[in-house]
C-alpha cells in the first residue's frame, strides 16, 4: 500500500491504518527508536506511542513523506524517554556519544543563546545542514538524526570508519563556526 493510501485510511478513521503503518514502517521506526534507546522494550513502547500519535494527528495532518513524518515522532518520543532512565547500562550508547561530540560545537567559554527560541534554532540548523556538501550532509544526518554508529555509516558508505570520523569532525567544526557567526552563542559569564 502506498503512503497516500495509508494516510487516507487515517483520514477515514479506519483502524487498518495502523496495521498498514506497522507493516510498512514498523521496523523502520523500531530502528529509529532502538538507535537512541538501545533497549527492545523501550523501543517497542516508543513505536506504540508513535502509532497513537499518528492516529491522533491524522486527520488534520496529511504528511507528504509518511516515513519521515513517523520517524520524527518516534525520535521525539525516544529522546524524551531516554532521559528518564540511565543510558549507562550499555556504556552510554550512541546518543550519549553523539551528545559528547556535539558538546564541542559550542566553544568552551560560550553557551547557546538562551533567548534563541527552539524553533529559530531548528531553522538555523536546517540552513546549516543545507550548506553541507551532499555526502557530508548524509553522514551528518545519519549520525546526529538517526544516531547510527560510525561503523554502520562506514559500512553503508563503503569506506573506513576513520574517514567517517574525520568527516564528522569537519562538519562539527563547520557547525561551531556557523553557530558563532550567526550569533547563536553567547559568552558565558565569568
Amino acid at each position: 500500500m502506498n503512503d497516500r493510501e495509508i494516510v487516507d485510511l487515517y483520514w477515514q478513521r479506519s483502524e487498518q491504518a495502523i496495521a498498514e503503518t506497522d507493516k510498512k514502517y514498523g521496523k523502520y521506526c523500531r530502528i529509529v527508536a532502538y538507535n537512541i534507546l538501545e533497549n527492545t522494550q523501550d523501543s517497542e513502547e516508543c513505536v506504540n506511542d508513535t502509532w497513537l500519535a499518528a492516529w491522533n494527528s491524522m486527520p488534520v495532518n496529511r504528511p507528504e513523506r509518511l516515513n519521515a513524518y513517523l520517524a520524527k515522532i518516534t525520535r521525539n518520543f525516544a529522546l524524551a524517554k531516554v532521559v528518564k532512565r540511565s543510558a549507562k547500562k550499555r556504556g552510554g550508547g550512541e546518543l550519549e556519544l553523539a551528545l559528547e561530540e556535539l558538546d564541542d560545537c559550542v566553544p568552551s567559554d560560550y553557551c547557546l543563546e538562551k533567548e534563541v527560541e527552539d524553533r529559530a534554532l531548528a531553522e538555523s540548523i536546517n540552513t546549516f545542514v543545507d550548506l553541507l556538501p551532499e555526502e557530508e550532509q548524509l553522514i551528518f544526518i545519519s549520525r546526529y538524526w538517526f544516531f547510527a554508529s560510525e561503523r554502520e555509516i562506514a559500512e553503508k558508505q563503503g569506506c573506513s570508519r576513520s574517514r567517517i570520523s574525520a568527516m564528522l569532525k569537519r562538519s562539527r567544526d563547520k557547525l561551531k563556526t556557523y553557530l558563532l557567526q550567526e550569533g547563536l552563542c553567547a559568552i558565558l559569564n565569568d
Binding site: 513502547e45 513524518y69 559528547e100 546526529y144
Partner: protein, 359 residues
Amino acid sequence: MRDSERLIKAMGELDEGKIEKASRFLGYVKGPGKTARSRRRARRILILAAVIALILSLGITAYAVYSHWSKGLEQHYHPTEEEIAAAESSGLSVNPEYENGKEAVSATASGVTITVQQTVMDGSFAHISLRIEGYALPEGKYPSVGYMEVTVGGEHFPMATGYFVEEYDEAGNLIFCGEDGGLEYVISAGGLDELNNFEGKEIQVVLQDLGIGDKAQHFTEVEGTWVLTWTMKASAEIKTATPGVEIGDTGVILEEVELTPLSVRVLYKTDGVWEGYETMEVFDLQPIGVRLLDGTVLQKVFGPGGKTGYTDLEACLLEIQSSADQILAPDQVEALIFARDYPWARELTEDELYIVPLS
C-alpha cells in the same frame, strides 16, 4: 538542558526530504536511492498451517490466591507485598495457569510451548507475560518474533507491542531470561478507548515464527504459529475528577482526570492550539506523579505521554494519557502532580511541582 541536547532536539526539525534520503542511505527503508555498498540479507517469511487453540474461561467466582509475578512484570512495576496482594484481590493481576480447576492457556508447535503465565490489566492497559519453553536461543543473539497479532472481542487491536525480558548477569553480559531457562515475552496493549475495558472480553494472541533479531530485522529459526485464546480478567478500579482549575500559573486548565491502577488520562484546555502538535513533540506540562491521602508524594510515576492529541481543536482540548511505572491505588490518590521542562531527567524541587487536588 545541555547545549548539545538543544542541538539534537533542533535537528529533529530537519526537512523531511533530507531525513528520507538519509534513511534510504542507511537502508532503513527501501526505495530509489544509491548506496555505495548494499548488503542483502535473506529473509524468509513463512505462513504456517498448524494452529492449536485452547479456549479457557476465567469466569470463576472463587479461587486460591497464588502470588507469582513474572520477572518481566516485576521488572516493570517493582510491586511491594501490599501491591501484590491488592493486585490479586482486585483482579488486576491474574495467573491463569494457577486458577483452581482450570487448564493453562497454552499452545505448542514445532516443539515449542508458549503459555500465558501472568496478566496485569485494568481499564486502560493490558500486560501479558508469556513463558516460552523449548526454544534454544543461540548464544550472543537477541530473540525475535516474526509476527504478533492481538485481537480483543474479535476485533484487531492495533496498539499492541511485545518485547523479550532481559537482564544483565554478574559479568555484565546481557541475558534473556525466563522461568527455568526458557524465555519470557511480554505483550503490552492499550490506548484506544473504544477497545479498552478488557474485563470479560475474549482475547486472542497469535505469535508466528521464533528466531533472532538484529536491530529489528528478524531471522526465523523455528517456524510455527501459536494461538492463545482466553477470556480476560481486569481491574475495574478508576478514579475520575473534573477539577476545572488552572495548573499553577501555566495558563493550562485541567478539565478532566481519569486515574486507573496502570495509567492516567488528563484533558487540558490550552490557551490556543499548541504549536508542537503537528509533529507531536512532547507537550511542556506533563503529569508526573501523585500525592496520596496520607501526604506521600510520588514524583516519578508517569513517563512521557503515550497518547497526546487534541480531542477538540476548536475548543483547544488536549488529551494526554500516560502509563504508570508502578501500580496505583486510585482511591488513595488525593492530588495529581505536574511538571515542565523534561521533568523525567532530574530530581525536581518543590517549587517545580504543580499539585492539583482531585476532589
